[in-house]
Symmetry: C2
Subunit: 320 residues, 2 copies
């Protein structure tokens, strides 16, 4: 987040913020994420290139701007071929889509049960009982997922009836009330985070499984975000509103369209970054892992699946 | 080649070399190649990101260091799936590899025949007669291509016996004489040009056909460069040396390694850019097309082939 200059100094990196210099040992860096106004010299990029370090730049709202890739590339042709093979094989593609919807459902249910005291027990039981993911082609699965999401939103509306702001129904382009505005903004931030991690991985963000591959979007980004939405977006914004951390005056209106205003955005981004610094104990990793790194672990999990391992999204840890 | 700072200024780019500033209209830039010691600010990279401009950095000897890629994707998931399908299908992959080698051979022959008066007629006839591309898997085709290239280099050596500088044999990492230094530098520049065009196309540079897809390099960049090397690299440097435009004192030595020196590099890059501004009449396009655009047309040709059209590299025009 700091402003300053990044230079090469005696074979390593030196960051100068206008007042003092700090040595950044290049051997311990895997990648650089630049949020502040940082000048970077060519000598410095040459050094980063030699060490195979990727640099990502982000704009003011943390929006991903672009990346510097050293000669060595991050995405891999071999992995792209594997990704394509799993896409073309209907049973392999169906299995991945199935696992994503199933995990997504479990995450929705987890969030609803956590707030069960605010819900009518019968509605929750009904949500749980009527979910039965049937076999089908990926487009059919996609329709089932849409139906599941409809029913989930109805329960979210029940939840938000207990908070100062209402959800009503999901509205997009534009969001038509505060909760929808917050949900849209948080979704965008989640997509960017997933995309940043995908950009430094060997996977091609363009080839998705549940979200059909097309020319307009990074489908794999949407697939992976699906897993994290219930906890990191829906649950997060529910708490923000329930605790009145974000309130009516953090929003502005443009006709019927509702958005976070500049102050609301700043507050949200601070809380959003705080959320991603939180850690969770990971059984497979045998250590506390920041939420942000969970996304990378999901990417590794999918890569391993392409190499033959079973696909078990969000396994090995439990949200607190 | 210059040293200085690149900044964003009133919505466009400003280059400051320590003495004076120069405006670089961002609308007219497609990509930046940075050879000098240039500092670049984040605001500047953000602007380049918005405009979809790629930046390439080169080291002191013109060695490619790395690239900045803006967020907006050009590659398309659908196209990547098609590319993979053609890679996985052995007969489709073989057909592309075959067409590349065949075109490359024709281009070599064209260059040699153009200078036939400098060659022993028997050697040229032999080169032409012994070429018989046999059917085989892509790795076998790759070996045949290597053998063809060996024989071609022997004739190139004959050609360079008539110029002030000798070719002898192809040496790389490091190049061991002036002609090899020039060839390596020109190849690097051609690869970057092809990569830049691929980066703004729908194709994934990582999936090549003649050059097997692997994790280390952009194989498709190598495939396409193959078509252009005889004319745009070999023929070009032959003329530079024959006409004494580039001479012995444009090089410097580091042990047994030979490189263009700063002055030679500057001269070369000027001539290289001039070459790419030249135009050629294109039958299919019914207009004069700059050499640079020919690379893009090849990319379109390959894309159309993936959509079902026959693959005919470098068709529709003749080098002057």
């Amino acid at each position: 987040m700091e402003h300053g200059q990044l230079r090469k100094k005696e074979g390593t990196l030196q960051f100068h913020d206008g007042k003092a210099s700090r040595i950044m040992p290049v051997e311990r860096i895997k990648e650089l994420h630049i949020f502040g106004e940082v000048d970077i010299s060519k000598k410095c990029l040459e050094l980063l290139g030699q060490k195979g370090i990727i640099v990502h730049w982000y704009g003011y709202y943390g929006r991903y701007v672009g990346s510097y890739h050293p000669r060595e590339r991050s995405s891999s042709g071999t992995m792209t071929l594997l990704q394509s093979r799993f896409y073309e094989d209907l049973s392999l593609r169906t299995a991945i889509s199935h696992a994503i919807i199933d995990t997504s459902y479990r995450q929705m249910l987890r969030l609803l049960k956590e707030q069960a005291h605010l819900l009518r027990p019968r509605r929750l039981l009904e949500f749980e009982r009527t979910f039965q993911l049937e076999q089908g082609s990926p487009p059919e699965l996609f329709l089932q997922e849409a139906a599941l999401r409809q029913r989930y939103y109805r329960l979210l509306d029940d939840l938000f009836q207990t908070t100062p702001l209402r959800f009503e129904k999901r509205t997009r382009r534009p969001p038509e009330n505060e909760v929808n505005a917050l949900m849209s903004f948080a979704n965008t931030m989640l997509y960017q985070l997933v995309l940043s991690e995908l950009m430094t991985s060997k996977l091609d963000p363009g080839i998705g499984y549940l979200h059909a591959t097309n020319d307009r979007q990074y489908s794999l980004q949407l697939d992976l975000a699906e897993l994290f939405k219930p906890y990191l977006v829906d649950g997060f914004i529910f708490k923000l509103i329930q605790r009145k951390t974000i309130q009516k005056d953090d929003f502005e209106w443009d006709g019927t369209a509702c958005y976070l205003n500049a102050f609301g955005r700043k507050k949200f981004l601070h809380l959003w970054r705080e959320q991603f610094k939180q850690t969770v104990y990971h059984e497979h990793q045998k250590r506390y892992v920041p939420y942000r790194e969970l996304i990378r672990l999901e990417i590794y999990g999918l890569q391993q699946h392409l190499h033959g391992a079973p696909y078990r999204p969000l396994s090995g840890f439990d949200w607190p």
